[in-house]
């Protein structure tokens, strides 16, 4: 689509919807999950938008806290459950702090959805192995619930999720109840299951997320797509394991984080080599990642 350099072309481009302007949404509920990681539920003020805002697991929005600024946040809910957008936000700095200080029912701004999201259509018919570390569960929860809601379109489904302690497990109640489902192998691990009086007893495993591989048998590697998300050290060990199992590099999907300002491929900040994380990503195959000219340290 090369530009025309004509008045007609300029005029039509001056008339498009303004992508920089957020939609007004209401913060309907705040659910504390773990320390400084709460789940925030939003609804658009325009009821129509709640129906028409179509997104894919793995996509993100630019969330505006009015008067403070914007931050890119993954959507943790699934498009198969309309009406409310859920976001798991970690308290980090200016914008996220301001969000934590917002009373329920306040107005915020949302624009998006942005990014490529997980290639769910291409994943259909495959076995899916979801591996999350720490906060990496936030974007993967969308994928997990999407698959559960379209369960018959996917093969075997395995979730491995590891955190430091039981207090760091995001969506703990939800995930613990999923362990009872017969059509999902849901494996949770913590490095230390220390127990303080009154704590909810830990029923998962103890160890690193990679230790969970011993509990899943006969992974059909050529037909499996692995979606992984976590901190740098997590990627190092999980990738090592997957490559040893002979996962093809384009069957490993990773979510990358970079500085973002615009979310729409214009401001330049999120560039890695020749790709823009905001439009070409944030989901990349491992093959894409190792071919990115700007080295990524794991």
């Amino acid at each position: 689509m090369t530009p025309q350099h004509t008045l007609l072309d300029y005029s039509s481009k001056a008339r498009v919807e303004n992508v920089m302007i957020p939609h007004i949404a209401r913060l309907v509920r705040v659910i504390p999950m773990v320390q400084d990681n709460y789940l925030f539920l939003f609804r658009f003020e325009d009821p129509h938008l709640n129906e028409t805002f179509i997104y894919k697991p793995g996509q993100f929005v630019e969330l505006t806290v009015i008067g403070t600024g914007e931050a890119p946040i993954s959507i943790s809910s699934t498009p198969t459950r309309k009406g409310v957008l859920e976001m798991c936000v970690r308290r980090m700095g200016r914008v996220t702090n301001a969000l934590y200080n917002l009373p329920e029912n306040s107005f915020v701004g949302l624009r998006g959805p942005y990014g490529n999201g997980y290639p769910v259509d291409d994943m259909k018919g495959h076995d899916v192995l979801i591996i999350a570390g720490g906060l990496g569960m936030a974007p993967l929860r969308s994928l997990l619930n999407y698959i559960l809601d379209n369960r018959n379109q996917f093969g075997r489904l395995i979730l491995m999720y590891g955190t430091k302690t039981p207090d760091d497990v995001l969506f703990r109640d939800e995930l613990e109840s999923l362990t009872r489902r017969g059509d999902l192998e849901c494996l949770l691990a913590v490095e230390q299951a220390y127990q303080y009086p009154g704590a909810h007893p830990w029923r998962g495993k103890i160890g690193l997320v990679t230790d969970l591989f011993q509990y899943v048998k006969n992974i059909n590697v050529p037909n499996t797509i692995a979606a992984i998300c976590g901190p740098p050290i997590f990627y190092k060990f999980v990738l090592e394991k997957l490559l040893k199992m002979n996962f093809s590099k384009d069957h490993i999907l990773m979510s990358l984080e970079r500085r973002m300002e615009c979310g729409v491929g214009k401001c330049g900040h999120c560039a890695i080599g020749y790709k823009y994380t905001c439009i070409d990503g944030p989901i990349f195959t491992y093959w894409d990642v190792i071919n990115m000219p700007e080295l990524i340290e794991f």
């Binding site: 350099h5 008045l7 481009k13 302007i21 009015i66 500085r259 214009k266 330049g268 900040h269 700007e294």
Partner: protein, 340 residues
């Protein structure tokens, strides 16, 4: 293509006549070797001899700093597009700067469309002007030393007149309105033009060979050229600000003093600034100067080429002229090519 002739005797009348179509901006001389595009108060101010302004014409479409929307007590974000109804005539753009705008048209018009840019682009008439290169111009190597489109009118200087090429219907309207100032071109004018073109060709002294450059850059990623350059570059960002194709920006919110109104602002940024790739928590993906410098050069001559089939450099020479430590883009690439 419609081509007419404007005798130099009629030139001031022509410039004045442009006032009928909007606010006329022209190149003006600020001080020795410093030129700017600014509103015309009198036709005598036009600096026809200028080669490059400090800030390129991108400032009219992609503003150095602008509000994107406002929010007050109500629920809505109110769109704000500065100069949305202003008719502008930019007189005197050289071919490289017209190409600069054509490159920005691609950047702001591909994928998500930047409404702010195009709202102003559609209200602006571009009147090009021919030029004679200096030792910092390498547009000929970039294929931007001439242009067949991207202007409404283009003036090519001959000895006693200008050839006026009509590039759009609006340009045609202007030449019709001003037909008393214009005459037909003759065989003699064509010959004179060819002579000047040949002379101009000889004047280019600076050359950059871009054939195979993306591949060479791929091979030279770890070259010591980048480390050396990182030591010399101050990361002041001047080269980005003056570059007609650099288009990075930051976005932030500004609260009014009474805290009742917020503005979302975007402002020019440079990939050379230290915190350009800093994320929350403090990690910097390009902490070293060498990485940031390399990133700029690779974007212009590799990334953009891969994406859009041409470099995002017009060879205008601004970054050469305004770098406080005399970093010379062509010398850098020649070093990378092993040709220095």
């Amino acid at each position: 293509m419609k081509i007419l002739k404007l005798p130099k005797a009629n030139f001031n009348k022509f410039l004045l006549g442009l006032n009928n179509y909007g606010e006329v901006h022209i190149p003006k001389k600020k001080s020795e070797e410093t030129y700017v595009f600014a509103p015309m108060e009198d036709p005598s101010e036009v600096a026809l001899e200028y080669l490059r302004t400090v800030i390129p014409p991108k400032k009219y479409f992609f503003k150095p700093k602008e509000a994107l929307f406002k929010h007050s007590d109500g629920k809505n974000f109110i769109e704000h597009i500065e100069d949305v109804n202003k008719k502008l005539i930019l007189f005197g753009l050289h071919p490289c700067d017209i190409h600069g705008l054509k490159i920005l048209d691609i950047v702001f018009g591909t994928g998500y469309i930047d409404k702010y840019y195009f709202a102003r682009r559609k209200n602006t008439l571009i009147i090009g002007l021919s030029c004679m290169p200096d030792e910092k111009c390498f547009c000929r190597s970039m294929g931007t030393d001439a242009t067949e489109d991207g202007f409404d009118l283009f003036l090519s200087e001959l000895k006693n007149s200008y050839l006026v090429t009509v590039g759009s219907s609006q340009g045609d309207d202007i030449t019709n309105d001003m037909k008393d100032l214009l005459t037909e071109i003759t065989r003699k004018d064509t010959n004179e033009y060819l002579k000047i073109r040949n002379e101009r060709k000889k004047r280019f002294t600076l050359q950059l060979d871009i054939s195979d450059l993306p591949y060479i850059l791929e091979l030279q990623r770890e070259s010591e050229v980048w480390e050396d350059l990182g030591k010399k570059c101050l990361c002041c960002g001047s080269c980005s600000m003056v570059c007609p194709t650099c288009s990075c920006f930051n976005i932030y919110d500004k609260l009014s003093l009474d805290t009742k109104q917020t503005e979302r602002v975007r402002q020019w940024d440079s990939c050379l600034f230290k915190d350009y790739a800093v994320v929350a928590g403090g990690h910097n993906f390009r902490a070293n100067r060498a990485d940031r410098v390399r990133n700029r050069y690779y974007h212009k001559q590799h990334g953009f080429v891969t994406q859009f089939g041409k470099p995002s450099c017009t060879g205008c020479g601004r970054c050469i002229q305004y770098c406080p430590t005399q970093i010379h883009v062509v010398e850098v690439f020649n070093k990378v090519r092993g040709e220095d």
